[in-house]
């Protein structure tokens, strides 16, 4: 029941935000904050039960039984980690929007909470039809957030985001339907149940095509080369809270989908496809790091670095061994925090000086010392400094991937050099150098407020924790990944035997 509650709380809270605006325009943000804190608190009840079996809080009720569709929610260690990240960043996003969003705030928080409700659904749905439903639920409110509260070029960006996600979402839907149909062919009944569909054996060319439907959809969300180009626009135009949710949480649904569905459903096709996926990953890492370096718009720059970092996730997933998968999961968590924080910094700057254009900035250090310290921290985290979470993720992903593919891992490792190039470049352009007020009004260029410091401090603690004692997180996802690995090996072995 707890999982339904988690989702329902967000839906109801969202409605309450919308309705409460007519009483007081400051009420929605309070309600949104309380809703997310409640959700976050509720999630802790998932932690205790965890040890008994892989799946906790299972809820399965018939929905459209004729087509084998059920309302099936469950969580395991991996989902719980991502749920907590979602709620945590939800709170952070509310903090980011606190002062920034004044216009139609009720509807804004409604959209924010509904997006997050969709994300929680995505991380817990074990019926593919339900999964697809939540996949769409998180898309539309996010579209509205960009389209209504975005910046100068918001309609273009929102539309691009929508079309990319929608078109590839349709590919996934087709794949899901084909999968359900093959279940009908092989077992005599339609089913959208995750565990049922795992038994469907789709091999050969058909398996490859159906797998690609999932892969393209998920890797567009992630995003990975060559489906990444919606992200820089979406990020640069979205309001800060939108960027936080987008970078911190929404991208992770793509990675989650790859780990949970794309590879386990099609172990054979995935194995054959792995070299291509890993190549795309390595290219993403280097190419987007290079493009990031060339950007003047600070949000576009961070957006490209996101794509670059997500390359390590793809690399880890398609290496498909324990080290690499753990690395992918840790990168998801750590990047969730570090990218969200960097977008908050960029958004905070834009809120203060009304520009994102870096050539106009410079020498802000003495004016905003706290902000500078925070920026140094998160840039350094992003470039993979040991002792912080991102390092653990990337190092594990690489050391695992090395065992699967030496060449591509070595190529990907050069991303570590490029990451230091662009990270330090941002620090130089914005905070170091001589302060020169060129074209903007700097009267609002104030240091971080107590509220902002609170959010950043929470994220810093998170990254230090992940960096120094990652075991807390690793041991939660460990049984899940072990299960996935052994299942897929099993399937591969069986199909090999069948082939003989």
């Amino acid at each position: 029941m707890i999982l339904v509650t988690l989702i329902a709380v967000l839906f109801v809270g969202g409605l309450a935000c919308w309705l409460s605006e007519r009483f007081n325009p400051n009420l929605p943000r309070v309600i949104a904050l309380l809703t997310l804190l409640l959700d976050f608190a509720l999630m802790f009840s998932l932690l205790g039960a965890e040890s008994t079996s892989t799946w906790v809080a299972v809820l399965e009720a018939p929905w459209i039984s004729r087509f084998g569709i059920s309302f099936y929610l469950a969580a395991d260690g991996l989902s719980v980690l991502l749920l907590m990240l979602t709620a945590f960043l939800g709170v952070v996003a509310v903090g980011a929007a606190w002062d920034e969003v004044q216009d139609r705030s009720g509807f804004f928080y409604f959209n924010l909470l509904w997006t997050l409700a969709g994300v929680v659904g995505v991380f817990t749905a074990l019926d593919l039809f339900l999964f697809f439903f939540f996949w769409e639920v998180m898309l539309i409110p996010m579209y509205l957030i960009i389209a209504i509260w975005g910046h100068e070029n918001k309609n273009y960006a929102a539309m691009k985001f929508f079309i990319f996600t929608q078109v590839t979402g349709m590919m996934m839907l087709v794949s899901i339907l084909v999968l359900a149909y093959f279940h009908y062919l092989q077992f005599g009944s339609l089913s959208f149940n995750y565990h049922d569909l795992l038994n469907v054996s789709l091999t050969g060319e058909m398996g490859m095509w159906v797998m690609l439907g999932f892969f393209i959809s998920f890797s567009t969300k992630l995003p990975s080369m060559p489906f990444h180009s919606w992200l820089p626009d979406a990020h640069s135009q979205a309001p800060t809270a939108g960027s936080v949710v987008l970078a911190g949480v929404l991208l992770k649904t793509g990675a989650y989908g790859l780990i949970r569905f794309a590879v386990p459903f099609f172990p054979e096709a995935s194995m054959a496809f792995a070299p291509i996926a890993m190549t795309l990953a390595a290219v993403s890492i280097l190419y987007c790091a290079k493009v990031a370096f060339a950007q003047d718009d600070i949000k576009r720059l961070i957006a490209y670095t996101s794509v670059s970092h997500m390359g390590f996730v793809t690399l880890g997933i398609y290496a498909w061994n324990e080290l690499a998968l753990q690395g992918a999961v840790m990168t998801m968590l750590a990047h969730g925090l570090s990218a969200a924080a960097l977008f908050m910094l960029a958004g905070g700057l834009q809120h203060r000086i009304h520009t994102r254009n870096m050539p106009e900035m410079g020498g802000f250090w003495p004016k905003v010392p706290k902000m500078t310290a925070v920026a140094i921290f998160f840039s350094v985290a992003a470039l993979g400094m040991p002792g912080l979470g991102n390092f653990i993720g990337e190092f594990l992903a690489l050391i695992g991937a090395f065992q699967a593919n030496v060449t591509l891992t070595v190529v990907a490792a050069f991303g570590l050099i490029l990451a230091s190039v662009y990270s330090l470049w941002v620090l130089q352009k914005v905070f170091q150098g001589e302060y020169s007020n060129r074209s903007f009004d700097d009267s609002h260029l104030t240091d971080l407020s107590r509220r902002e410091m609170l959010y950043f401090a929470a994220m810093m603690i998170g990254l230090v924790w992940m960096g120094l004692y990652p075991q807390t997180f690793l041991s939660m996802s460990e049984p899940v990944l072990a299960q996935l690995l052994s299942d897929s090996t099993q399937t591969l072995v069986t199909s090999l035997e069948g082939g003989l």
Partner: protein, 617 residues
């Protein structure tokens, strides 16, 4: 008592946290004692631990603070490992580090960002201690990257000047190139040997690999990549001279004593790997030799007091690499230690000179300073003597060990020895060139030198370092257990002639320097008269064109690619889809004319086409 070893990195880390969490606003009277005191406490603990260790018969000791992570057989810990090598390193880092911190409380006392400065310094020492104490390569890598970060922050400490920012980024990125090579080395070692615990890994390597095996060569080559980056050896040496942009105590702390020797430590720590890859070990020696000669030439042409010292550092680390490469492991570490003494002394003394002359760094705008700056004069005298390996100073013993080690190598050994001796000749020239120009002759100062800056916290460290630079050669480093199958320490049997040459050559260098810069018997201007000499000078001055080369082959192409593809070419594909749909839309819109005649015509035309198509089929 040995369990206290975890306090070593903990004290500086606490100091860092205290300084940073207060927003760098602590007044000097509090920030100074925290900053320097934390290192002092670390040194006290280090001394306690070391004495216990020496008394307990040099038994290696492991202390696990906690398991870092444990994933699929990969379980590095925050585990500290103490043996002769890490003991020597930790004593150098905390001891020399403490003196430098103490000196810095005086040197930096006018700087508004005093607390920020000490927070970086403390973090640096903490990371450096993790580097040398870590029992696994991942923890070592943490320290390795940590010192890189602090070096970046400290070089760019005066951030308002973009040149400093550039130097800082250059240092970080260039060393990161090496770090990445090292990281790949770690991946390889783990994939092949299944552990990154250093002792287990070395043991497994000796079991699994034969001498000269491909894996051993690849692994040691990749680690060497990391080492040349951090230790500023060819081909990644270019960052160090620029790194002099930071405040002078930084140069002493990072670019003289501990940090740049990290590469030497890494190779010494994993020396069995290198012994299994003799070709790579030879390469280490070759890199060392070439680096020491090239940077010796460059040092002779520089005019900035700190850059001279920087190139001399690169050159001296070249000696250490030479030592490592010829298998004179303990000699290399011994030279690392004595170098830490005399180079820290020289850098700190140059700080006093620079500060007393109102931040003048050009040696040709100094001159005749021996009366005005007596403490600096004696510091430089002793430091320079040790640097040139004047008999019975500390540098003499350690350089001797390395050169004799080279001589013991069959075949190429003699050439290594000869190269090292030639390098010693250059060392004598450039060191005393600096010394004579700065402290003798006429003053060329734009401002008359003020009173020599000092006070006990600046002069105290200088005096202690002078003592160490003079007498440090008599310290016995207990490394026989670490390098058990290395060379016999201090048991060389060579002819008197060889010894004579090794004593005479540096003196000859000093003499040449005297004739040129002191007595002016020979004139540099005459030497520089020919066009060839001018070109050579410019070439050496610019560090043998490495910067130009890297700019042309790496930096500029990267910038170019980044610039032309700012708009992300992949996106243009999707933009094309949009353009095509819009164009199609435009065409179809044109067909919606609203004119009945046009519609009737197209319907009729369509019919004709379809019917005729049907007929032909």
């Amino acid at each position: 008592m040995l369990e206290l070893i975890w306090l070593l990195p903990a004290f500086p880390l606490l100091g860092f946290l205290a300084l940073v969490l207060t927003g760098g606003r602590l007044p000097m009277q509090i920030a100074g004692p925290i900053g320097a005191g934390s290192i002092g406490l670390s040194f006290a603990v280090a001394a306690l631990v070391a004495s216990e260790f020496l008394n307990s018969g040099l038994e290696s000791f492991t202390y696990e603070a906690w398991v870092w992570m444990s994933v699929g057989g990969f379980n590095p810990g925050f585990t500290f490992y103490l043996d002769g090598l890490s003991m020597v390193m930790m004593l150098i880092i905390t001891g020399v580090g403490f003196l430098i911190h103490l000196y810095a409380t005086g040197y930096m006392s006018d700087d508004p960002s005093f607390a920020r400065f000490f927070s970086y310094m403390n973090l640096f020492v903490s990371a450096m201690l993790m580097l040398v104490l870590g029992d696994n390569l991942v923890l070592l890598y943490l320290g390795w990257e940590g010192v890189g970060l602090c070096s970046y922050l400290l070089i760019g400490f005066w951030y308002t000047n973009p040149t400093n920012g550039y130097a800082a980024r250059k240092a970080f990125v260039v060393t990161r190139v090496g770090d990445t090579s090292m990281a790949i080395g770690l991946f390889l070692l783990f994939a092949q040997l299944g552990t990154l615990n250093i002792q287990d890994m070395l043991h497994a390597a000796e079991m699994q690999w034969s001498v000269g095996s491909g894996f051993a060569v690849a692994a040691s080559l990749l680690l060497l990549g990391g080492a040349v980056g951090k230790s500023a050896q060819l081909p990644l040496q270019t960052w160090l001279p620029d790194a002099m942009a930071g405040p002078t105590p930084i140069s002493a702390l990072i670019h003289a004593a501990p940090m740049v020797t990290a590469g030497v430590y890494l190779i010494a720590r994993t020396h069995p790997l290198f012994e299994m890859a003799p070709s790579v070990q030879l390469l280490v020696a070759l890199i060392g030799l070439v680096t020491l000669l090239l940077s010796g030439f460059t040092a002779m042409t520089q005019s900035d007091i700190k850059r001279i010292l920087a190139y001399s550092t690169v050159s001296q680390i070249g000696y250490m690499f030479l030592g490592l490469g010829v298998g004179a492991w303990s000699a290399a570490i011994f030279h690392l230690m004595t170098h830490a003494f005399f180079k820290a002394l020289l850098f700190l003394a140059s700080g006093t000179v620079i500060l007393s002359l109102h931040h003048e760094q050009n040696i040709f705008k100094m001159g005749g300073l021996r009366k005005a700056l007596p403490v600096s004069f004696f510091s430089f005298l002793i430091g320079s003597l040790a640097l040139t390996a004047f008999p019975f100073t500390s540098g003499y013993f350690s350089k001797d060990e390395i050169l004799l080690g080279a001589l013991e190598l069959e075949g190429v050994g003699f050439w290594f020895w000869l190269g090292g001796v030639v390098g010693a000749f250059f060392t004598g020239i450039y060191t005393f060139r600096l010394f004579f120009i700065v402290f003798f002759g006429d003053s060329h100062a734009e401002h008359p030198p003020g009173k020599e800056v000092g006070g006990w916290h600046m002069n105290g460290p200088l005096i202690l370092l002078m003592t160490l630079a003079l007498a440090g050669g008599f310290i016995h480093v207990p490394l026989d257990d670490v390098f058990s199958h290395g060379e016999g320490y201090g048991e060389h049997h060579v002819s008197g002639l060889i010894h004579g040459i090794m004593i005479a050559v540096p003196l000859l260098g000093i003499a040449v320097s005297y004739l040129f810069f002191m007595s002016k018997t020979f004139s540099v201007d005459k030497l520089m008269a020919s066009a060839l000499a001018k070109k050579l000078h410019a070439f050496w001055f610019g560090g043998w064109g490495f910067d130009t080369l890297y700019n042309a082959v790496l930096v500029r192409p990267f910038l170019y690619l980044a610039r032309v593809n700012r708009k992300d070419i992949v996106d243009s594909f999707y933009a094309l889809v949009v353009t095509v749909s819009q164009a199609a839309n435009g065409l179809i819109v044109k067909s919606q004319t609203g004119s009945l005649r046009w519609y009737a015509l197209t319907v009729a035309g369509g019919l004709v086409v379809m019917v005729s198509l049907g007929a032909t089929l």
